[in-house]
Amino acid sequence: MPLLEVTQLTKHYQGGSGHVTALEDVSFALEGGRLLGVLGPSGSGKTTLLSLIAGLLRPSSGEVRLGGSAVHLRSARESAAFRREHVGLVFQDHHLVPYLSALDNLLLVPHLRGRVRKADRQHASHLLTEFGLEHRAYHAPAELSGGERQRVAIARALMNSPEIMLVDEPTSNLDTERGQQVLELLRDQVHRGAMTCVMVTHDPRMAAQADQTLRLVDGRVVTNSAAS
């Protein structure tokens, strides 16, 4: 049984210029322990898809099921609790809290769950070491390079040992070499930890390195590598 099932997912917006269809009739499935690359031009609905899977948005119609559980039926409060416990989010602009050190940014995740235990501190230190950031643990985001910030953001997303990681354009602000490093980091985490990851990207070279690729154009799936 697939970990993630998206069925006939549609999302309309009421924008300033009228009715906008961001996603239309999108369906696909993703097995656990695999990296899905969602590819498409700007405005194709990639990020909307990510938001719907994360429970940040509610679909106009269709279903999102994660581990058999209906994400699309959850209230905002339930979705927030679900993300705290089971989802790792990596934003395009990393969104690290500027006044927290790299270590504290990681500890924010258990803090939001209610309590920072000694094991959480050990886990955070371990992740920073694994990502080659142990010497940057007490540095603020402003003191880190773009690549370091993105690595801290990925480490933060791993703090709750998520079932699924949702990653939005992780390499868009990085040069090719650093982008490749970040992607390898993600692949390594997915394959070592048997974790599932959905990565949105506009870069075909990055998407090509995923286990499965979904190509979106104008809110519709035009290619699903799993189906071919």
Partner: protein, 393 residues
């Protein structure tokens, strides 16, 4: 965690806003102390009379200056149902010639109950004839314990036997004497000026002949006290006493009586109005500051909400920051207010009342939290989905 770390990470920004709120707090504290000082200075001697109720002559609007009770009145009040104890109080405005010049004073004749006066210097006992317990603010006029005060235009003199405190009336020191001394001073105040104008009967205590004192003076001399201070039996209220007595009397608590007359209610209203405006300004400063801060970091808040933070969590962080800032501002504000108060001349109405300061500070906290509601609205409106690429929406 987030709240405190953000404060520590932006010390200058939050320090400046704490200073701004601190200035508002100090203004509020100053207004509170000046309001209290004004009330004490204007009515301290009246308000602090040790009594459950004060009984005035009817139709005098609780005015100490206009009320006059006769022997018969005092007897009626003393024997009224519900009255446990009563003592007469006389009031008279005089001019005192002190070591540094003349100043106004209010002579209060007490028919007992002198132990109600807190003695700060001198002998703690009831004054004998021509002795007085004087409010300590008279020291600013060069008066000391043991001095003899000359009263003008009266022929009397009073020896200062002790100082008391917080007993002023209409911003002038109160001078406490025995009721007998007060009666003789009052008689002199009514008659002595006429004797200097050549009246042959000016020193008489009455008389209704063609050569006697004018009828109004005779009528006034019949009064033996200005008001009566009453301690009520358990369970009896001033309203009960008012209902018992005839309409020829007015009954009020010392607090109510202190706010009547001399424009006191208008003055207190004005000072309280300034305090209220100060609090509103404080609420606006805090509200607008945190509203702008919240808007400024809406992307960050969206990201934290996307990671799973609830609106309650985000708002709680805001409340923690407000609490810390207002506490810091309170320390700054109280320090500034006390510093300003200590630099004021003794004649200035500045009388910090701890209970009122605590109330004012609670009001500052309350208005700060009300101000935070601006931010709560924007927190609720921040969509966590915007933490992801907004361009797609």
């Amino acid at each position: 965690m987030l709240a405190v770390k953000e404060l520590l990470g932006s010390k200058l920004k939050f320090g400046l806003i704490a200073l701004a709120i601190g200035l508002v707090v100090s203004l509020t504290m100053l207004m509170s102390a000046m309001s209290e000082g004004l009330v004490t200075g204007m009515t301290g001697a009246k308000r602090s009379l040790d009594a459950d109720a004060l009984v005035f002559q009817g139709d005098t609007a609780l005015s100490l200056e206009r009320s006059m009770l006769t022997d018969e009145d005092l007897a009626v009040i003393s024997s009224a149902a519900g009255v446990a104890e009563a003592y007469a109080v006389g009031h008279l405005i005089v001019t005192v010639r002190g070591p540094q010049g003349s100043f106004d004073a209010h002579v209060f004749g007490l028919g007992g109950a002198f132990d109600q006066l807190p003695i700060t210097e001198g002998e703690p006992r009831s004054p004998t004839a021509n002795e007085a317990i004087v409010d300590a603010t008279a020291a600013a006029e060069g008066v000391g314990v043991g001095d003899t005060l000359s009263l003008t235009p009266l022929p009397g003199e009073l020896r200062v036997m002790a100082f008391t405190e917080s007993r002023r009336y209409i911003m002038a020191p109160a001078v406490y004497v025995s009721l007998d001394t007060w009666r003789s001073l009052r008689a002199a105040s009514l008659l002595a000026p006429r004797s200097t104008q050549g009246s042959e009967t000016g020193t008489e205590q009455g008389g209704d002949g063609a050569d006697g004192p004018p009828i109004y003076a005779t009528a006034a001399l019949a009064g033996t006290a200005s008001i009566m201070a009453v301690r009520l039996s358990p369970g009896v209220t001033p309203s009960d006493l008012s209902a018992t007595l005839s309409p020829a009397f007015e009954v009020a608590t010392p607090e109510e009586a202190s706010l009547a007359g001399n424009g006191m209610n208008v003055m207190v209203l004005a000072v309280n109005g300034i305090q209220l405006v100060s609090l509103l300004i404080g609420a606006m400063v805090i509200g607008v500051f945190f509203y702008i801060t919240t808007l400024h970091k809406s992307g960050q808040i969206a990201a934290v909400k996307a990671l799973g933070a609830s609106n309650y969590y985000v708002y709680r962080q805001l409340l923690v920051q407000i609490s810390i800032l207002v506490t810091l501002a309170t320390v700054i504000g109280v320090g500034l207010a006390l510093g300003a108060g200590s630099g004021m001349p003794p004649a200035m109405a500045f009388d910090p009342n701890p209970a009122r300061w605590v109330l004012s500070l609670l009001a500052v906290y309350a208005t700060a939290y009300v101000g935070s509601l601006f931010s709560l609205r924007s927190i609720l409106l921040i969509d966590p989905a915007t933490a992801l690429d907004r361009a797609e929406h």
